[in-house]
Amino acid sequence: MQTDTIASPVIVPRKKIKGSRIIISCLEREGVDTVFGYPGGASMDIHQALTLSKKIRVVLPRHEQGAAFAASGYARATGKPGVCLAASGPGATNLITGIMDARLDSIPMVILTGQVATKVIGTDAFQETDIVGATLPCVKHSYLMKDVNDISWVMKEAFHLASSNRPGPVLIDFPVDIQQALAVLDDNAERKRSGAVFKTEPAKGQIKKALGLINEAQRPVIYAGGGIISGNASDELRRFVKKTGIPVTTTSMGLGAFPEDDPLSLHMLGMHGAVYANMAIARADLVIALGTRFDNKVTGKISEFCKNAKIIHVDIDASEINKNTIVALPIQGDVRQTLEAFNTEAVKLNIEPWINEIQKLKKEFAHSYPKSKEHIVPQAVIVELSGLVPNDAVVCTGVGQHQMWTAQFFKFKNPRSFISSCGLGAMGFGLPAAIGAQVAFPNRMVIDIDGDGSFLMNIQELQTLKTENIPVKCVVLNNSYLGMMAQWEDRYYKSVRGHTCLGEANFAEIAKAFGIAGATVSRSEDVAPALKEMLSHKGAYVLDVKYPYNDATHGHVLPMIPADGTYLDSILPGGVILRDYLKQKGATECCVSKDRPAGL
């Protein structure tokens, strides 16, 4: 018979496996090597499946928030999506701060949560929370899995969405019965959405116009943000600066995008940024904003920001363009592709007077801090540490004064070397983020520069350091206060302490209780040897740096532009307002042009 002669396709019925096994196979397919996960009733099946994986290391944090921050630290250090896993209800809700942090800083993350069984969803079952609903404003996208057969393509799509275009957190919620249901793993599953959210290629006409503006500029400044780092555009930026000679200031998210030891580096701008960076931006006639979003901590009073400049704004996310300020020339597209296009035609600009002016400003307004013979000065600790660490060190921070001092005084030279919760400003970020970075790079030096308040918020992760053998070095700048809040109280609330005093804690002793080495220093002369001792220690280490919270003379992060102020409102180290300083000086030379009295 004819039918006998036609070779029928050999269909080998593939074995059905549990949904939880499919999840793990999908993670392996995406190249995931680490999952930060805390088990609970609704995620046990996934954890059981993880025990069978030979490719994935599971790091058990001691709190789900630690899992989310560690995944973020991993993603920030590598550029790959960080993966965290929690159970339903409280496990999932404990992730939310970390998810929002990833959202605001555009960090690629895939969040897996367990959920109660589909048949009891909506019945207020034990540990039930509508986590998809609760995280709607925090995620780039999210899924509630209702069919085990959808897992393969959803996982594929989730990783794509998290890491493509403007990265962000993507959450997948897995009810227990879906984890346990049987299905065939679909190796070739493709994501359902094919197109990118935003086009990546910048419009040629806009590039041409931009090059025109750049070539005409007398006082250009580059204002570079986290997009340079997430868009892997640091090399192109350096090339662009080398070709044109335009000076660069970065946001906190952009630290490391441009080497801070370069003469054309203006360091960080904004509220606690360098005075010369803020003055340069105010004096510029052209600001090239690259992968940045005109955050209020950067701009201060937005109507006065870059007032004398035309702005070229390059961003992958169309919604960032004209969101906070109207720009002369928007370029929607990938920042690396845009810089590549710039670099094919960019030429050396004849802006020597401007560069001279900037070098004078850098000298005149160099970052400084008050010295003390009596006590340790925290800024000095960071300067010391910055000189001691290897070039490829990764620095994580909590949130507060220590974070800003790190941004001001640590010299960042490489992208992905400063890891901090910049948009959300989530205290407790430093230690778990450092865990994530260290797990990603076991052979690099990873340091958590923390404050006592922030360190306490996720101090349980010391046990993770110990049991997982993660050699993070923690430097806790410990002044027994919520220093940044106390600073604002000093400035705006007559120093009335509204519950901002934390009290004493001995972090080296706490570390020892977890089996981790540690030491305490409280005298300036002991700082350098203690840092060296810490850096030469093989395992995890906690250095408790004790100093008193002082007052405006010592304890404040300066310079500081008060909220909604302009660069002229800057409080300089020493307490003088920049406006008064310039007046006193006769406001000549570097800061005021002959034809325009720079806003004075």
């Binding site: 998809v132 609903g133 709607l136 404003p137 780039k140 959210v197 169309a318 919604s319 363009i321 109207i326």
Partner: protein
Amino acid sequence: MKHTISILVENEFGALARIAGLFSGRGYNIESLTVAPTLDPAISRMTINTIGDDRTIEQIIKQLNRLISVVKVKDVTAEDPITKNLALIKVNLNRRNRDKLKSIIADFDAMITISDDTCSVIQAVADDGGIIRLTEALKPYGVMEFVSTGSVAIQKGKRVIRA
């Protein structure tokens, strides 16, 4: 200024919540919102009426475009689209007001969908202004209940909004 925005959105779990949440979370107004599946059941079409200055509207459209579930967004306001709302109005129809009400209904191209001894339900299809004028005209005769959809909009001419 009032704007009419047409949105094609994937007909999937949570899509409506994402869009409604975007408006509330970022402080945008929603005057009205209607949604129903299109001829392709995988896609729903939404019409949102909102009020804002040009910059706000620009942001609304950009923010909507950022949502993964959103397939297409178009502000059709400038094209003077055909917009219609459906209103159902329950009135007490009796001997004394019958003639007057019937003439109002005729004036507004409305119709009585159901009527019994005690009351009638008037069905009207009109734009926002038409519905308001109709209810104002009916009020003196006793409106028992009023319900209306938000508006749906479609462009004039050959232009269409497709996924």
